[in-house]
Symmetry: C2
Subunit: 145 residues, 2 copies
């Protein structure tokens, strides 16, 4: 499944631009291995750590392209840095719980929440392209500590 997303995206980008560079492939492969959102820095470090001399600009360029194609989602948790995560080809998506203490980020899904969001959007004359939801507070571990 992880491989599926990665392969799907690489094929898509190739057919889209006609070219295929090394930097983009590394970014896509890295994102394919993540289960939740990561920052551009983390991607940069991760890829570099694996031995590729990739530039920051290329990371942002790759992410921008992926975003435009709807293959990746920008996640902004309000800490001044953007994070990115792959979009499940089956349309599933999740939101985020953020711990104010330890900074941990974990995903969650909720059907009733999605339905409520649909309803709001519909009743407002808005053509909604995306929605973001995140809850912040103290996670179980930090409450115990």
């Amino acid at each position: 499944m992880t491989e599926t997303w990665t392969d799907h995206v690489l094929a898509r980008m190739r057919s889209e631009t006609g070219r295929s560079g090394n930097a983009r492939r590394r970014v896509v492969e890295f994102l394919g291995r993540q289960d939740c959102c990561v920052s551009a820095q983390e991607i940069h470090d991760g890829v570099r750590g694996a031995g590729s001399r990739i530039g920051v600009a290329s990371v942002y360029r790759a992410l921008e392209g992926l975003d435009e194609l709807g293959l990746v989602q920008r996640v902004d948790l309000g800490d001044g840095t953007s994070r990115f995560e792959r979009i499940d080809p089956r349309g599933d998506h999740h939101h985020h719980l953020v711990c104010d203490d330890c900074g941990k980020v974990e995903p969650f899904e909720d059907l009733a929440l999605e339905e409520a969001l649909e309803r709001v959007a519909g009743g407002r004359g808005y053509e909604v392209a995306a929605h973001d939801v995140f809850l912040r507070g103290a996670c179980g571990d930090c409450r115990a500590a």
Copy 2:
């Protein structure tokens, strides 16, 4: 009601710090006049436009203090700048619809949405302190254009 929030906050800050400066008062008064979120720049420009030589740092300091006291809410729409809006003393709060085309931001409320959020938080062991929701898309005007 606008005056109510402003007065309430000024009194609260005064009792909290024991001091009352000009910059903070101007920021609070400005926020009291807004119906939806504004950026720190907008506050700075707005107050300066009214003739007060206020510094950017003071705006951020005031906002930080108001945030800590729970009198103001940070709103991050993912465009790289934070916005702020006053918190209704009665506990009401709203979320935001953002138009990707014209950048317009408008508030909305939805009870079912709030209930769904409560439920998610409760079932996760999280002590949730705040939640953010925003929908982005094309507003009625931009769809017509």
